[in-house]
Every structure is written in C-alpha cells, then in structure tokens.
Symmetry: C2
Subunit: 322 residues, 2 copies
Amino acid sequence: MSGLPSHVEIKEEGPREGFQIESGDIPTERKIELIEALAETGLKTIQIVSFVNPKRVPGMADADSVAAGFRPKEGVNYMALWLNDKVFRRALSYDKLYLEGKLTLYASDAFLLRNQNRTQKQQIEAQPELIRLYQEHNVPVRTGFITAAFGCNFEGDVRTAKVVSLVSDLRRVASDHGEALKLIGLADTMAWANPESIKRIVGAVQDANPDIALSLHLHNTRGLGLANAYAGLQMGVRHFDAAVGGLGGCPFGKHRGAAGNIATEDFVLMCHEMGIETGVDLEKLIDCAVLAEEIVGHPLPGAVKTGGSLNNLRARITGENN
Amino acid sequence: MSGLPSHVEIKEEGPREGFQIESGDIPTERKIELIEALAETGLKTIQIVSFVNPKRVPGMADADSVAAGFRPKEGVNYMALWLNDKVFRRALSYDKLYLEGKLTLYASDAFLLRNQNRTQKQQIEAQPELIRLYQEHNVPVRTGFITAAFGCNFEGDVRTAKVVSLVSDLRRVASDHGEALKLIGLADTMAWANPESIKRIVGAVQDANPDIALSLHLHNTRGLGLANAYAGLQMGVRHFDAAVGGLGGCPFGKHRGAAGNIATEDFVLMCHEMGIETGVDLEKLIDCAVLAEEIVGHPLPGAVKTGGSLNNLRARITGENN
C-alpha cells in the first residue's frame, strides 16, 4: 500500500543515552539487568555504555564495570560510545563489545565550536588520524554521522545543501584513507526536524548517495519524534536509533527540559501496526521499558509502556469471543 | 513540496477533555481563567464544558457556573458537549455558547452496546428524534461523528468498509430529515490508529464522500498522535481536534493509563514548522499549556511546553548575531 520498508533495524541506545544523564547512584547491577533484558527482546544492536570522563559524566563512571560485568547473548552486538581517542583505548579491552569506527561531522558550525572547539575544516582534518587509529586496531569504519543535521539551538536552521556536502566530505575522507562508509546517520540532535524537513534532507542525501543506507537518530523534545520517524519510513529509511522507554530524557521533574530519543517500544508498535517487521518482541520490550523506569526512579516519556500494546488487546478480545 | 493543506482549523477541547477527568476540586474560576486565556491565542473554537450528570462526572459538576461565568471574546465559538437530550436543554440556556447538533455513530458494536446500550440499528433509529430536537431549537446540524473509527478495545480492529457505510448512514439519516452534514469527524477514541490506517480509512471515506470535509479526533495513548495527524495532513485533512497540554489524560501518577488528545501546542508547532497556518500564536498557547498543567496540578503529556518553540530559539540566535 505504500513505499514503506518491509523491515527495519533498530539500534537500541537506551542504556547509554539514559544512564549517562542520571546521577552516579544507579547500581551497576541494575544497568546490567536492563542490558541483559533488552538482549532477550530480539534487539540485535544495543549501545550499552559511553567511555567518558567520570568527573564530567558521573552516570557513566561505572562504564568499565558494566562492560566487564554483563553476560553477552549470542547474536547481539553490544556497542559503546567514546568521545575521543584516549577513551577509545578503554573500549578496546572488552572482547564482548562490537567496536565500530564512526566518523562524525557537525551540520552546525556553532555547535561544533562549542562541543569540540573546532572549525569545520579542523573537524574534517581530524578524521584521517581517527581512521588510522581504527585501522591500527582492526576496528571497521562503517558509519558516518552528521550531528544536528536538521537544525541547532545555537545556529538555527540547517541548509539541505550543507548536509549533502558534509556527507560527501565524510565519504571522501573515508575513501581517501581506504575505507568505504556503509551507513550515514543523520541526527536530529536538538529536535529541530519536522516530517517535511526529514523528507527534504533525507531525500537530498539519498539522491546524492544512492549507493548507501541512511539511519535516523531522532529526539522527541517537541513530540514530533514518531511523526519524523514515519516520514523517514516513507522515504524508505530502514535504520533507526531509539531508546527504550524514551530513556535519555524526561520532560518531568528533575529532568525537565531534557528529552530523549524516540521510545523504542513506541516505534516498534508503530512499525508492527503498519506491517513493518522489527524482529522485536513488543511485550518483552514493554517489560524492559517498565524496568527502565523503575531503575531510573522517575517517569519516562514512552507512551506504550502505559498505553499497552494493541496485540494484547486483540488477544484478549479473541479469547473472550471463543 | 507536498499535498499538505495551507491551513488547518483546530477545535480546542482541552477544558472539556481535561477537567472532566479531574476530581471536583478545581475552582471554577481557574477553569474560566484557562478558557479566557485560550481565547487570546487565536483559537476560534473552544469546547469549554460537558453537560453531564455531576454525580458521574464530578469534574463537570460546575459546568453551569463555567458556562455562566466566562467572558466571551468576539469571534470565538465556545462549544459544549452533552450526552443526551435532557442535558442538551441545559446548554440551550447560555447565549454565549455556540450550539451545534452532532450526530454520532459507533464503528464498534461492542462499544456502542457498552456505552449506550444500543444496537447499530437502534442508534441509527435514534437520530431522527435528535435531529427534530435540534431543529425545534434552531440548532444547526452540521457534524457527523464516528466514534472508535480506527479500532476498539472491546471489539478490536475496525473494517474500513464499515466506517464508510456508517458515514453514508449518517448522511442519509440527516438528509432524510432535511439536514446536510458539512463535516464528518473520525475519532480514534481508543488510540488504535496508525499512520497507514489513517490514510486507508480517511482515503476511503473521502473517495465515497468527495463533497464533504473530514476532521480527525486523535488520542495519543500509544504516542502515535502526531504521526497520525501528519498522515491526516498528507491526506488533505484540514480539521483537527486537540487539547492544550494534552489535557484529558496523563500517563503518569494518578492518571496512569489515561491519555488525552494530541497536545494542541505540539500539533501547532508541527504545522507551523511545515508551513501550515493555524491562526494560533504558539507562544501564547504554550503559556496556556503551562497554565493548564498548573491548574490540574500534575504533569501533562504535551512536549512543546517543556521543549520550547523553535521560533523562540531562532529569534534568540538572530538577536545574538545582530
């Protein structure tokens, strides 16, 4: 009935997105409990920690203990994030982790300066050294990532042509150093996207790069996350980042103002209802969302964990009628 | 760039949807405060109360005081809901109210039986008497409404053909009694819709009724409200119900499990960002959402009241650069 993909691949980022903004008082074993429960849902890629400075990010102070402690499930890729070369070396020590070299450019000059203290030119020039580091450690370089691809709190709207040009820069710098990117991630880091800008920017990047897959990393700060995801699906995008329960932010209480990724279970429900396969057991995932909320100890924004799945209702109705 | 409408009309249902589920202890003057603030945002249609049995709905026990007490603003239609003929007569006593006769059918036999203790045949046969009552009091009969048009917790999925057939029944019974419906409302009463089912059912109703406008009443229980609204916009729908702050439900605390309409301010932001006019001042509307949250005294699910508008950020960036 439409050009929607028949299936999507989800990268679950809840444990990393969620726990990094919490204070340091969540026990390591509870983080591991969530990671292990997520691995039982059918999710194939789970980003579990970020290797960062524990003084700046107390919620990730136990990243090494989490990475050392969890029991991996066969067939699941456990990923980690690192923000610079130094902490990357920490990630290298865990055989259980699936390491992937990601090259990142910023669609916002202002945000790049603020975050990395670099100009666009400097950021591009920094990539070859990173590629060599990954090559030295046999870490594949597959993914290019454009931060703030749909707008930025410090710079405003982003021109479509700029995103297309940055993607082209990323692919060129990779290929100049013997790597071919397989996936380009477009991140709506500060929730500036709307369904039409998703279509416009995704469409332009696809037109210029028909040979490469795109992924979307969508924040739900203004409630448009699933509408934007639907627009992405309409453009044929098959890779999405998401965070169980909407971990990574909460519009209430102490997290007022923050807001996380789209909630994995809400996205999975939308996909399943439209006939798009995710490989995920929604009921088990809802249990994980409830668990995540219990672990962080405050409400999380995901809706389906409260609203419930429709298949559960269908099963009950069928049961009553038989 | 798309088939989206250039403008939409919003029926604000927050005061009615929201206060009817609260206990009776919200002061009447605070309800009036919200209604009067909403009228300053540019919203042209505001449903302010429901005339119901105060014993069953304590939150609406002061409906008469609200209707009597608010100061109407020129150019705004203040509407009321009533669930039967008897309470309709209460609504008649307020000149400030814009009364409109609405004819309602249910796409779910099970929900109709549960709610009205009627069969489909009985529900259709009850409409002529209602039409005559409205005619007797010079209340225009403009709108037909299909409850649970996208699915039902008690009956499951709804067949597209059934919705089309019910719309045709409604129009026929109206026209047999001298009335021509101008608008057909399709309600996702229990949040079963997904963007593709919106397109399928809206499309089928449009095909069979090219001469009449449609409106969508969308609940956000499973987080798909704005994705569904976007699908409706893609089908050219120009009339939407919404509730400021997402009033009418809250996934947290004592309201766990309930969930209201799409939040008006989230929908308005999405429209504005896509170049669709609403006639609404988003900043003033956000203030109303914050006010609504303060009045009910618990978090409401709307996102933009916390995430903030993008135009505010754009203005700040422009200011800093000048």
